[in-house]
């Protein structure tokens, strides 16, 4: 028994030592570079690639629905829409760079939907080809008009009730969305923009960002902005007004998922993780200098994400019937935002000076 214990201890020590040799401690300076690379290669680019693929899948599902308007195909289209929406909302955790510079965001995610103009458009003789769609106002393009057509109010749309004009419209809308998402992906991966290089090479003459600090601040600002957008915009406006008509994504009843995915997107960026990708994140930088702050941020992110589970009905109903739960989530988001603004941002300014 004694012998076994001895062998076990020796084995443990050897294994531990070996691990240390394989992964030598990384300096803070190196970490600054690695975390930017990992954010780009593990979070941003894979996120946009998934979005690109999700848009293709939605387009295929809508083509199938157009060809064969069955309930099965309608359900498949709804699922594809929700899947794509989930990826996009997570990508909203880092809304900087081409997505804002080239207006990809408003091109696909403008709210509210313009029913008056939609009716005029559908009742007209406009061919509703993709070129026509790309020339119309933003409130008739992107996720929400597709959502309206395939879900109806709270998902009550039936396949048989979708008109031929609506079908043509949703086909072109999904083509347009596919095109926008592909351009967004290319903007991070190929010339002339190749925004990945701008981020990875921050602090060199090859980047728009003359210092690493600038790109880190851009990233942290985008985390603060999404907290603000969810907590003080998407949730608070309908909550304060007690007005369900202001809630975004009402047709699919997907609002809570949208909000949660936004904060999961924030978490992905902070941790440098996305799906099965794992790497160095801002958390590693923070933990190496101030473990208490990292713990605080991580626990506040987790608390904010978990708090959405307390809202158990459509958000447009919850603002009337579950006000306490809505309020608690907004408080959690506000707490997180304040920490990011008042502690993480100063941390970046203090420690990432190059």
């Amino acid at each position: 028994m004694k012998k076994i214990l001895f062998i076990a201890i020796v084995t443990f020590c050897i294994t531990s030592c070996k691990k240390n040799e394989d992964t030598p401690a990384i300096s803070f300076d190196e970490l600054k570079t690695v975390a930017l690379k990992d954010f780009t290669n593990n979070v941003a680019v894979p996120g946009y690639l998934d979005l690109d693929n999700a848009a293709i899948n939605l387009n295929i599902a809508i083509q199938n629905l157009n060809t064969n308007a069955t309930e099965v195909n309608l359900t498949a289209a709804k699922t594809a829409w929700k899947n794509m929406r989930g990826v996009w909302e997570q990508c909203e955790g880092f809304l900087f760079g081409p997505v804002e510079d080239n207006d990809y965001d408003p091109n696909m995610d403008t709210w509210p939907t313009d029913y008056v103009q939609m009716d005029s458009l559908l009742n007209s003789t406009n061919p509703l080809a993709i070129a026509d769609i790309q020339n119309i106002t933003l409130s008739l393009r992107g996720y929400h008009p597709i959502e309206y057509i395939i879900f109806g109010n709270h998902g009550n749309r039936t396949a048989a009730s979708i008109t031929a004009r609506q079908k043509q419209y949703m086909l072109s809308l999904s083509e347009d969305l596919k095109s926008t998402c592909h351009q967004l992906y290319l903007s991070w991966t190929v010339a002339p923009t190749n925004f990945s290089n701008q981020v990875i090479n921050a602090g060199t003459i090859n980047s728009l960002y003359s210092k690493k600090q600038e790109v880190y601040l851009a990233i942290v600002n985008s985390l603060i902005a999404i907290c603000e957008e969810v907590g003080e915009g998407k949730m608070k406006e309908p909550f304060d007004a007690m007005d369900p008509s202001i809630v975004e994504s009402p047709y699919s009843g997907n609002s809570i998922n949208d909000f949660r995915n936004n904060i999961i997107g924030l978490q992905n960026v902070y941790l440098g993780k996305y799906a099965t990708n794992d790497g160095k994140g801002i958390n590693d930088l923070v933990a190496s200098k101030n473990i208490a702050l990292d713990n605080k941020i991580q626990s506040q992110i987790t608390a904010a994400i978990s708090s959405f589970s307390n809202i158990t009905m459509y958000y447009e109903d919850a603002i009337i019937n579950q006000r306490l739960q809505c309020q608690q989530t907004m408080i959690a988001l506000n707490t997180l935002k304040n920490t990011l603004e008042n502690e993480l941002k100063p941390f970046v300014i203090q420690y990432i000076t190059d």
Partner: protein, 457 residues
Amino acid sequence: MKKIFTITALTFSVALLTMCNKAAMFDEAGYDERLSGGMATVFDETSKAFSHSIDGLNERDELVHEIGDVAFEQTFIAAPSLINGGLGPVFNNVSCISCHHNDGKGTPTAGFTNSSLLFRLSIPGTDANGGPLAIPGFGGQLQDVALFGKPPEANVSISYSDVNVTYSSGETVTLRKPTYTVSNTYQPLPSNYLISPRLAPLVFGLGLLQNIPEATVLSFADENDANNDGISGKPNYVYNSFTHRTELGRFGLKASAPNLLIQSAGAYHQDMGITNYVFPKESSWGQSQLDNLNDDPELADTTLNAVVFYVKTLAVPARRNVTNSDVIQGKLIFNQLNCSSCHKPVVQTGIDLNTKALNNQRIQPFTDLLLHDMGDDLADDRPDYLANGKEWRTAPLWGIGLFAKTNGTPYYLHDGRARTIEEAILWHGGEAQKSKENFMKLSKNDRKKLIVFMQSL
């Protein structure tokens, strides 16, 4: 005892005299050059650099700023609608943020969803208030987009031709000169129409500019060039359609708006077709596109007021690299070329007891808020109140070094024709002709230093 009394009295007198001394200003070195907006400065050089509220707002004011912020981003849609209704029927874009990208400039295209360029229209002559004479059926601004099923007033296409400029050292820079072609007018335009392109300007720091005393602006003016430096500087006096008075123009590219209320209400009205308490009548009044809905004003008074407060309380980004030797030398060159004669580096704001960060601030806006003749190449040949067809208001230069961050692709000048700061300088003419010529005589290295200085703003 008498002696003690005398000493005490003398001590008192000295103390009193000392107390009567007016506090002196610091000398130049006593100020932190980074603080472009004084207390209303924010340290951020990311794409959100223009989007911060000023520090020190009380809780209520923070809330109003936030409400204004949200409203600034709202997309308007056709009426009737439960939310954000009232767009158009003719308009230029659907939200404030569509044109003022990241609270800055936008893209010099027209008629697209991301376009930030609009066109003012008029015919020769002046209206009853001394303003441009609107064109019947078109008004004073061309709305090149319309609700589905309605005709826009017209379309405008933009083409550019190359103009080469050669430095004395032999290097050549290719500028692009815009040509605007109006087509598809929904009804004929009179042949003598005048058209003026305007790229959406920056919207931060406006509370500070509004708070510069009129006397200060007038002190910069030299309308008849009494000092013979070739630079005049003329105030624009414009009609305030809310107070029904003639007032000093401060905002807009020709200083044709007297304050932020008129500027913002006018933008809602003309750019988006949203009626409000300042402009309650549809911009398409009397035109075939009119919606005939009894829903005016379409914008809540509180929303307009919140947006006015929002732009009033957007902070100015701090300067960067102020101790860099090239930046310091570039600043000297800026002054030596006399750029600072119009682009006033330092101005003191007036009293605002409600908003501390706007009150009595030493700011670096690099504008005198006056009109200057900018030469034939930049002329729009369209008078706007006292501004003639060659005159433009001096553009503030604060934040100019951040355009690449806030806008993706930076554009400069009133119509966005310049793609670099160097191109913008080379377009200067008129009163700035001499400064430009001297710029062109500089060595390449000195020209670079000047640009580096401007990029620090």
